[in-house]
Amino acid sequence: MSALNSLRKYVLACALALAVVAMAVVGLMMLTITYDVIVRYALAAPTDWAYPLNAAGLLAATSLAVPYFYAKGQHISMDLVHRALPSGLRRAADLVTAAATLFLGLVLAVTAFRSMAVAIKGGLTGAGTFSIPLWVPDAVLFTSGVLLAVVAVLFPPGTAEDVAEAEHPPGEAPSTGEAPGDAPATAAPSEGAPARGEGRAAPGTGEGETRS
């Protein structure tokens, strides 16, 4: 059990690292587009890299963060039927979810890998004076697919809730604003709180309901 837990800890750290990259990408999108606006209006010399890089950045900002929030049980889901099931069936439903997610992760990893191979073999590249080789987005998807498959196995639904319930007083939903590294959210001056509430709400259809 402790071997499993340390494996989980390690995998979660990897997933978090990718999510942090995703966050950095959003920040860079903001900065590079602002830079492009400035040089466009002030110098009439827009960059040719802002457009393709930010389009590629969007894919990275999304797909790299997906495994981490899956491991934390924070994607949008509907627990309308699930919460009405007897606990045995509920566990079966969770197994189906884990299997479906594993399947998605594997399909993503395999197909993105093949697509990456096609792109490398064919030397495929985007159009334009600044072009990104087409294997790059495929590599991002491949990474996300592999990690999604791993977290699907290691963090079946309920894992995050169990952990969260142990960490939070009963009745409080786990929050997104939670500190990276798993500490309970202490950074909650009243002004900071709204954003946390919002973050938790996105996947929280289930959360509020289960606990009501």
């Binding site: 009439a44 159009a127 334009g128 072009s131």
Partner: protein, 311 residues
Amino acid sequence: KGGGKRTVATYLPSSYGDLYPGIEMFNKAAAERSGGRLALDLYDSGSLLGAEQLLPGLLSGVADVIFQTSSYVSSTYPVLGAMELPFVTEDYGKLRRAIEPGQPQFDLVNENLARKGVRILGGMPTTFEYLWTVDKPIRRPEDVRGLRLRVAGEIEGETVKALGGAPVTMGSAEVYQALEKNTIDGLVSYIGTVVSRDLQKIVKYGTAGHFGAYTVDAYCRSDWYEQQHPAVRRALDAAGKTLYHEGTAHMVKVHTEEYLPKVKAAGVELVEPEGAGMEAFRKAIAPVHADWKRRLGARTAAQALESIRNA
């Protein structure tokens, strides 16, 4: 798909009245010539594969035949750039003859693409690209300095850079508003883009010269082609010729009889630099040719240029 059904994909929507009929002619000819062995299932408007996904989709087997504009793929396959180079010839008839299936340029392209596992069945060379602007006409290369011009591909982008402007990439759907809001000062395109996006209502000037061209080609994978029944292969080749002959003829007719009068009627002033004026443009874009030769390799590049000159 089972049976004789093949998946055909393009990002072009049926609203491209100059190019789309050529695609329909191709499909009709392929079906007729194959004697029922070939039924083509067309997904247009990017509904199956968008412009950027067509080539990877073809190579992964999602589509069997794609129709693609060369500007999207000439960074990957520089040999296609020969037909796109600005001022490679100033006679459209010559450019058009060069790429006829069976002619040296067409064979050179296919020899080159065979190594990448791809085959062109036939294509439509578009009429020349002009420089279209809103605020002031472009009469000399110096007039481009500091202008932000929308481009669709690498060679267009380098042409703009060589003339001293800044190339801007954006989807063709956004161009109208970008021109209106002065996000860009103009664009480099053939007349089809102007009319299909109603840009004649906003651009005021067009500089007529050979500032580039595209080809719109039908591609398949070479191994897929080899696996087909000989009758199917013949049908595909015949359809490629139909695309080249009848599709191009239709496109040119639409451009000259419909689009050009429409653009002129909208009040767009066509600037036609002559003599020394044109020579200055020719000189300014020389680096574009040099860059392209470097990317493709001197020998193949020389062959391509020669076959276009001799056409």
